[in-house]
Amino acid sequence: MDELPIQSGDDVVRVRQRVRVVAADRGLSLVDQTKLVTAASELARNALVHGGGGTARIEVVTSAVGRTGIRIGFSDDGPGIADVDLALTDGWTTGGGLGLGLSGARRLVDEFELASKPGHGTSVVVIKWSR
């Protein structure tokens, strides 16, 4: 398992690179690698920009039916998200973004879990299974 800090734009790039290496290593197709890295980029940026910094944990997991997958958990101690459903709406943003980060990332992965409590930070876990 890899744990990477997300405290700067450079860190976001490092998370992308690390996810790419792990995903390629586990035999994800080029398209699936690209989707996972893109989702990771969105979520790492959110942890940095909205969460004031956080961490990314990348690990290889095995499903109940024996499939290999990459699981990435992002967490931060930022202000949290008051209305999670709203935050997952395409185009919804509290800042200058496009509001496609969360909703788009969810479409790019196989599993997506967002947990957040206002005042207690945000955690997002995604999994992409190899086919």
Binding site: G9, D10, V12, V13, R16, Q17, R20, L30, V31, Q33, T34, K35, V37, T38, S41, E42, R45, D90, G97, L98, L100, G101, S103, G104, A105, R107, L108
Partner: protein
């Protein structure tokens, strides 16, 4: 923060993105391009993303904006070399890059630019 260089050849600005783009670098590129367009009167911008492995919503928005900004300076932007996996991912993300012209490679991009009156 690494900076993406801008090359001027004739009336066209060439940008070939060879680094792992962090947000600051893309914003800087946008500013540098706006500055060059205002200073040189270039009529076209070619952005080569052959080496770009991912375009997320932030980078995608910046690319679209570069297209709009260049139009304000009476120039046109063509995005060349987008990888198939990037195009597929962008679509699933929900981004359309509307308003930016695309071409297979720099050569075809140049043709597109010179085709305009």
């Amino acid at each position: 923060m690494e900076r993406v260089p801008i090359l001027k050849l004739g009336r066209t600005l060439f940008v070939s993105i060879q680094i792992d783009l962090q947000d600051e670098s893309v914003m800087r590129l946008q500013e540098d391009l706006a500055g060059e367009l205002a200073a040189t009167g270039a009529t076209g911008v070619i952005i080569d993303i052959t080496a770009v492995e991912i375009v997320d919503s932030f980078i995608g928005r910046m690319l679209t904006m570069i297209g709009s900004i260049s139009r304000m300076f009476d120039a046109e932007t063509v995005l060349v070399g987008m990888r198939p996996a990037v195009a597929i991912t962008l679509t699933e993300l929900g981004l359309s890059l509307r308003g930016v012209r695309t071409a297979l490679n720099a050569e075809k991009g140049l043709k597109l630019l010179s085709g305009r009156a």
